[in-house]
Symmetry: C2
Subunit: 464 residues, 2 copies
């Protein structure tokens, strides 16, 4: 049997917490130098949630929003995968909690589980979902992928790189965002750059310098493998094509913080320079030829190299990367959801007419480490219009969030950490901060069983 | 493009700990009534490991054994999925630790992560691997699936249902064990029957009665959906076929303890009785017709019903189920690996000539809950001979394990629990109990980083 045509993202939606802390205020509160978070990291606001939200309520919200908007019945979903590293149970998956939403439809025949490795879980979930649709197990229904996380750090230098949120994606054929087939370059390795071995805590252990090196090394390798596959595919079709940054109209990168994405984008130029024959170096690289002879291990923290390629890529950065960083800049890192938050940002940055026909490169990175460079092509038409217009509320909703003072933010994170995995427990967080229709954690009983409730949905200005 | 032919298990191997406790001795030690564990649960021996083994070393061992035996190079694997609920890190996957074995081959382009939901993780990993091979992402290489767990319980009634081990499976086309396409009945729901919300501990929280009810309810539903799909597929091919227990030559069931499997097998007969027209009830059900009118919720703990169908299925149980229970009986539960340990048991119970042509039903259950009833067909020939003979060492190796007294077993479990997730830590377990070639946990440093070492491999009776 043939694979279905144009498999990709049919619809998607994002759930972000309704509270944020301002990074300028946080710099001051933390006694950090002015601009350390806003310029040094490239972050403006950071979304966070109280103990009223856990990974399950966040994913419930992302799915509820997507299904409400698309009006796709729960019986039309045959596969559900969750990517997360916000673990609240070693055994029970978030996926089974989401099955509560399917209850009314009577649909229990829904394969798929949670997939885990740091920020890469959403991508693995997505790839599994795509494969299912192309496999003999596919029964014509949609696959649903949810990537979500709560990113919180102990107070200190990593804290401003937190964030929170989830993205739900409906995967199927005839999609407006079509994954390019056979074009994935992956790099997996054993590393202890960022991990969460203290199971009592929500906070990770981070080797900051190693983490940056791992990210850049993974990007180098993934990009190289992607290029080789792309060029082999072209050759097979009788074409001689070479991949460079120019091959793509836009880029979405996993964004631990925006500045790293900018540096990484610059690194693609460095990679492009490495992979042209010496007699064929384009003029745009003139003056940079010497960097070709550096050993890879010397390049990761070389300021001169970094500055040179940051300069070279500056204009393209504004055009091809910045549109994808709106959520990251204004909400922070969402781990597994970060890359797909970038995709949402891109899709809310332009009209569907402008987006149609663009080829988008995506780089997914999860510490530990797991990474893939892949691509999709945006198909214009009514389905794209529909997808883009369904995201109209994302930016206004972000604008309307509640700003919380750094003092209250720190107190909230302390409340979370003190009560993380505690049972029995009744959350203390303020319900008034939650938007109408939001699922939240009601209580945890003495058997650690979690129950959720929902803020009433407003309709025509009235609470239902 | 067409899907490759005969996708299934090309090769598999099992890793079990080299120490066990005798269930008769454990009954006495625990002051339990004679036969409570051996007859009541159907368990004979229980494998366990000291703090020298963790989930990563166990999976390293399963993969190492399989790759050594098959002589498949690590560069010929393009996808690696791990199913486990033995979580030692919230973020870093076991899969990335296994990438150490790939290091020498230089192959880092290996997609796949860990999948989690109780004992079902191995099955989800397997389904993801099959889908990958049938998808546009497949590049002709093998997929590797590892299911492994350490099943330990707090002292009390659940403790004798522990166990430990991992199964590694090589998935590809032209396999001797071929998955029947389009034939999977799945049932997923939200339940708190068995889960692990106390992240500081290795022990689960169990609602024993609910767990049995969930298992049986899942089986009923999965079997019904499987039958419907099977019959629809037959109808499409112009045949009128009805699925009953007679459709299958053998059954492998997830085995929390062997007695539950026996009861569950009997329940398939009850299901068969429910789904024949009233005028068409086969004579084998005579005297049992009244059970048709019972409400489902009344059936799960009805002794009369249980005994009636246990009696009816007794002969078939010996023939079709018991051969698959060797590992479960003599090693205990291995959570995600349990079902695939049953498959190994089946394959080591008969000659390849006897196995050829058999249709095997598999029922995977993970609390929380996730479950699927599916099937495979055994293809005879040289590849089957090779697969079966590669498992020749499994039963002799199990026989040769070291028996440990219940006192030492209890002390070992206490040692594990006291030091679970501790850092820095140097394990205290006796290395002499480990077989030559075994990977083990050497130490955990103050950054929680784990390092592993290997017992020297014996060759010709000499340690290398």
């Amino acid at each position: 049997m043939a694979w279905p045509e144009n498999v990709g993202i049919v619809a998607l939606d994002i759930y972000l917490p309704n509270t944020y802390v301002d990074q300028v205020e946080l710099e001051e509160f933390d006694g950090a130098s002015k601009g350390k978070y806003t310029i040094g990291l490239g972050q403006t606001k950071m979304g966070f949630s109280s103990d009223r939200e856990d990974i399950q309520s966040i994913c419930l919200n992302a799915v509820q929003r997507l299904i409400d908007k698309t009006k796709i019945g729960y019986d039309r979903i045959g596969h559900l995968q969750v990517g997360t590293e916000t673990i609240i149970d070693k055994s029970k998956s978030v996926k089974t909690c989401l099955m509560q939403l399917f209850e009314e439809s009577g649909n229990h025949d829904v394969e798929g589980l949670d997939t885990t490795n740091a920020c890469y879980g959403g991508t693995a979930a997505l790839f599994n979902a795509i494969s299912w649709i192309e496999s003999s197990a596919w029964d014509g229904r949609y696959a649903l992928v949810v990537a979500g996380d709560i990113a919180v750090y102990a107070s200190g230098s990593a804290r401003p790189t937190g964030g929170c949120g989830a993205v739900a994606m409906l995967i199927g054929p005839n999609a407006p965002l079509v994954f390019d087939r056979g074009l994935r370059g992956s790099f997996f390795s054993h590393a202890y750059d960022f991990y969460k071995p203290d199971l009592k805590s929500e906070f990770p252990v981070v080797d900051g310098k190693l983490s940056i090196q791992c990210y850049l090394q993974a990007l180098d390798n993934c990009y190289r493998i992607y290029c080789n596959k792309f060029e082999a595919q072209a050759k097979k079709a009788g074409k001689k094509e070479k991949v460079t940054v120019d091959t793509f109209d836009a880029f979405c990168f996993h964004a631990p913080y925006c500045k790293l994405v900018q540096k990484s984008f610059a690194r693609l130029y460095y990679n492009d320079l490495l992979h042209v024959p010496v007699d064929d170096i384009p003029s745009k690289f003139s003056g940079l030829e010497n960097f070709r002879s550096m050993k890879p291990e010397e390049t990761y923290f070389n300021r001169e190299l970094e500055q040179a390629f940051m300069g070279l890529s500056k204009e393209d950065y504004e055009k091809k990367i910045k549109p994808s960083l709106h959520v990251s800049t204004n909400n922070g890192n969402m781990y597994t959801a970060s890359l797909y938050g970038c995709l949402v940002s891109l899709l809310t940055s332009q009209t569907s007419k402008e987006l149609a026909g663009q080829r988008v490169a995506l780089f997914s990175y999860g510490s530990g480490l797991a990474s893939t460079f892949y691509s999709l092509t945006i198909r214009g038409g009514e389905i794209l219009d529909k997808l883009v217009s369904s995201l109209n509320n994302v930016r206004p909703e972000m604008e309307a969030r509640v700003k919380v003072s750094p003092t209250d933010f720190a107190a909230t994170l302390q409340l979370r950490e003190d009560n993380c995995h505690k049972a029995p427990y009744v959350p203390a967080g303020n319900l008034e901060y939650l938007r109408p229709g939001t699922w939240y954690l009601k209580s945890i009983d003495d058997m650690y069983r979690r129950t959720y409730d929902r803020i009433p949905v407003q309709q025509n200005g009235l609470v239902q």
